[in-house]
């Protein structure tokens, strides 16, 4: 099976400051992979480079074996079936919940399909239906995360990029979010997640990477990675 995503030797710098250096990773269709790393390790930079929001200095990003994402603009990348759940949600706060969902389906020109997608999202997140005409900024953190996920799912992506989906949420909500990611993956959507919540992320992922100061220092099946000393030390609070 050919890789859905293959990142090779990717380096990004902000001015003279390197953010990520020679990062290589890949994803098979249907997988959940997680990138663990501390603040400032370069996790968000990887996601933004995949989305074309940050330009790579060197390296390639192959999607589906044929598209080099480093050569495409963000709106073209989305059309290949890549959707984003940004760090801190980044909803359009001055738009209503419904408008946020419609924007998630921006590339769909068939209005009937858009309506169907919205109905499907309301079925999955009944709370959002109640709140559909409220401004997104007025929602609670957990509800906003639902909007952010629904906004990304409505375009039926093949690859979902999730940037710290659990950050700033109550522990019970965090559990719901991880359950949701599992359900999304069971629907056949591949998920590349960046997380600091290592324990829950590793329980969910098929494969994990450990990113330190812009470089991947460990890589392997999630079960193996969680036993590594370095991961234990940094993320799982000492000896197993």
């Amino acid at each position: 099976m050919s890789a859905l995503l293959k990142v090779s030797g990717l380096s990004v710098a902000y001015g003279a400051v390197p953010a990520i250096l020679d990062v290589s990773l890949e994803m098979q269709p249907g997988e959940v992979r997680v990138i663990l790393g501390a603040n400032g390790a370069g996790k968000t930079t990887i996601i933004k480079t995949l989305l074309g929001l940050v330009r790579a200095r060197s390296g390639t990003i192959q999607f589906d074996g044929k598209h080099d994402l480093t050569r495409l603009k963000s709106h073209q990348i989305h059309q290949l079936g890549i959707a984003w759940v940004p760090e801190g949600r980044q909803l359009w706060g001055s738009l209503t919940v419904l408008e946020n969902l419609r924007m998630g389906a921006f590339i769909e020109h068939d209005e009937a399909k858009v309506e169907k997608g919205i109905a499907a999202m309301f079925e999955r997140f009944p709370r959002l239906q109640e709140r559909r005409n409220q401004l997104a900024a007025s929602l609670s953190g957990g509800e906003q995360q639902m909007v952010a996920i629904a906004r990304a799912l409505i375009s039926k992506p093949r690859l979902l990029l999730m940037d710290e989906p659990s950050i700033g949420l109550a522990p019970l909500v965090v559990r719901d979010i991880f359950d949701l990611v599992r359900a999304i993956n069971q629907d056949g959507i591949s998920v590349l997640m960046v997380e600091q919540n290592a324990r829950q992320a590793l329980a969910l992922a098929h494969w994990a990477y450990l990113l330190e100061i812009g470089q991947i220092v460990e890589s392997g099946p999630a079960g193996e990675i969680s036993t590594k000393e370095r991961v234990q030390e940094v993320f799982l609070g000492g000896a197993a």
């Binding site: 929001l53 963000s74 989305h78 419609r102 924007m103 590339i107």
Partner: protein, 289 residues
């Protein structure tokens, strides 16, 4: 009492043009984060496009209005692609200075072609007055007001009620997220500048017809007023901008009617400074750069 009402009506007519220019200015600012100092000169280009069309091609009112839209729209298109787009992502002051430069070139370029004085507009709308209860407006005022009202309603509908309008608001708030959800941000920017320019061009022709002249430096007047309106209203709410624009027109008309036209700008600027002292983000709030 009748003079009072009459001046309010006259002021509302003037204010409606201020509103069209100010809304275009605000749209470009909140979507592109660009202070487009050339916007009033785009208005001026529309005014002369209408004038030349009326003189040389057709003096049909609809044709002349459309000509104003086309002239201004083309001006906006070139401005966005040649001046604003290449400076995208640079310091905001760069586009501010670049568009200011364009505005000076357009003002003086037009003055070289048409002379520094106002040029008479052909009479397309008969000079008759239309009684409206205790007051009356001229047919030219009614055309000016109707054109501006239709433009503002169209702008409101576009931004609130259409898919591209929604995307425009999304770009205004979070351009990166909009791009990642499939919005061609560069295209939205272009559409926004052209749309603001089309509006300005149509309003400009109706102003040319109202006062019976076109002038190379007309942008100075309307640009300054639009800028004041945005500082007072803030750029966040469309209705806020329109409200302040109409209010400014009415205040000016009342001062002109009861005090003197010389006091008009004194009062306007005093109000501006007063409002900014207490509400630095404008009365209705602003998106900042």
């Amino acid at each position: 009492m009748d003079i009072f009402l009459q001046q309010i009506m006259n002021g509302a007519v003037i204010g409606s043009t201020y509103a069209v220019v100010a809304v275009g200015f605000a749209l470009v600012f909140i979507v592109l984060r660009v202070v487009n100092f050339a916007h009033p000169e785009i208005f001026m280009l529309g005014m002369f496009s209408g004038l030349w069309t009326a003189l040389h091609i057709s003096d049909n009112l609809a044709v002349v209005l459309v000509a104003g839209a086309i002239g201004a729209g083309l001006g906006g298109l070139v401005l966005e692609r040649v001046v604003i787009r290449p400076l995208h992502g640079r310091n905001m002051l760069m586009t501010l200075l670049a568009t200011l430069g364009v505005s000076i070139i357009l003002q003086n370029g037009m003055a070289i072609i048409t002379g520094p004085d106002p040029v008479p507009y052909p009479t397309i709308i008969p000079n008759m007055s239309v009684p409206l209860g205790p007051v009356s407006l001229t047919a030219r005022q009614l055309v000016n007001f109707a054109a501006c009202a239709i433009l503002l309603i169209t702008a409101s509908y576009y931004v609130r009620g259409t898919k591209y309008g929604r995307a425009t608001r999304a770009v205004a708030e979070r351009p990166d997220v909009a791009a990642a959800f499939g919005v061609n941000v560069s295209l939205i920017s272009l559409i926004t500048v052209v749309f603001a320019s089309l509006m300005a061009g149509i309003a400009a022709v109706s102003v040319g017809l109202l006062y019976g002249s076109a002038w190379a430096f007309v942008g100075l007047l309307y640009g300054l007023k639009a800028f004041i309106i945005l500082l007072v209203a803030g750029n966040r709410y469309f209705e806020g901008v329109v409200f302040v624009a109409i209010a400014l027109g009415i205040i000016e008309a009342l001062i002109t009617g009861y005090v003197s036209s010389g006091m008009r700008d004194v009062v306007t600027f005093t109000l501006l400074i007063g409002v900014l002292y207490f509400r630095p983000n404008g009365v209705f709030g602003s998106y900042n750069a």
